[in-house]
């Protein structure tokens, strides 16, 4: 009896990851300098966002199309980043059903 419980005892629950909301400033190395995003949100993920956004600006410069602003629209998160002296100010907007239409 109870063998099913034994089988499923160690099954971990799926963890829902919270989406970041707020803004961050990253320097040219991708380090997060200032942030208004909840401290509960992983710093590593914030760094990853900063690093990839800087990569987009960098790649654009390499392709001779320097950009002042980059927008990335995921289904549940919009990211707007403005270039700032090699670094960037990044705004993070989680999307809900009642959010305004994507622009």
């Amino acid at each position: 009896m109870g063998f099913l419980k034994k089988l499923f005892r160690f099954r971990s629950r799926a963890v829902v990851q919270q989406l970041p909301s707020g803004s961050i400033a990253v320097d040219r190395e991708g380090n997060v300098v200032t942030s208004t995003v909840s401290s509960a949100y992983s710093r590593d993920l914030l760094r990853a966002i900063g690093r990839d956004v800087l990569a987009l600006f960098h790649e654009a410069r390499e392709a001779q199309i320097p950009l002042a602003e980059v927008n990335i629209h995921f289904v549940s998160l919009h990211i707007t980043a403005r270039e700032l002296r090699g670094g960037a100010v990044i705004f993070l907007f989680p999307q809900t059903a009642l959010s305004p239409l994507p622009t």
């Binding site: 990839d52 654009a60 390499e62 002042a68 990335i72 995921f74 289904v75």
Partner: protein
Amino acid sequence: METRHKILVLDDDADWLKLSSEMLTHLPSKPEIRTVASGARALALMETEPFRLLICDLKMPRIDGLQVLAIVRRRFPELRTVVLSALEDEEFRSRAYALGVDLFWLKTEMQRNLQMYLDCLESLLGRENDGGFRGIQSKSLMDIIQMECLSRSSTVLRLTRGALVAKLWIQDGELIDAEAEGTRGETAFRRILAWKSGTFENLPAEPNREHTITKSVNALLLESAQAMDETANPVEPESVEEAGHRKTIWKLALLTRENAEFVVAVPAEGQGEVEALGTQSVQPLADWTRRAVEVARRLGEHIEAGPLSHLGGHNLERQMLVLPREDKSFLLGWPPNVEAGPLLEKSKKLVASWDS
């Protein structure tokens, strides 16, 4: 005594349920509104109470909307069903219609088209329960139009193909107007008939719509069928070079008409050649597009933000927008003065026409 119809609203978002109930109180027939937050609860409620209309969300935990609709279609075939979803995906729209839903509406369109949404619901509530089959699949557009005209219907057919939207106005079985890709009347009708696939939905009739089509629908269908036949079997075979040239001219005209600066179509690595119009720097732009899509998709997966919808950027000289797709991505260049909102719609339209 006249009985009030009952509407059941199913959504896992409590705020949306509240908002939806408030909106539905504006319906002229003043129906009774019930709300539930789970598919299981909705099915249990439908077993005990007769409802006229079910408004259902798609993305829900445990039992999702499509599962609920599949069960509802089997157990309650008389029930009118409406899908109200935030998922802007043609696949979901097609799947919902294949399950026989009467209406698929996007939550994101609600702010713009609330009155039309309420009109559609009122029309569904008022429609007599006179049987009939729903969930038409794999019927050509010609068949659908003929069916509507032969049954002397009065309706507006809203047709969607990717980002392209067209409408056909039918009044007492006569086609009175058509609208597609910035054209009206017979020209629009011919353009619509050239669409190979898409989805359609019935909207309430507009009897006061201006008549722009005078020919009978059968004459128009015959003319279009002949034109399509001639295109499929040309009298004099056109050389590959001539066909390519004609296609390029057509695409350039499209670019100019939409006021875009350039388009670069970038297939996945090793899946074909880059196609571009309006720019000399084809390779650097194609490389950047590939790289940008790759970086953004990886970031999306990393932070669990869902699939990449699109990405863009701007400088003082121009705006750029990347529309990623499975087989290829499109980079579109626009002048800086185009507003951000219409930019996405214009880009989607251009890409849809580009490949058609």
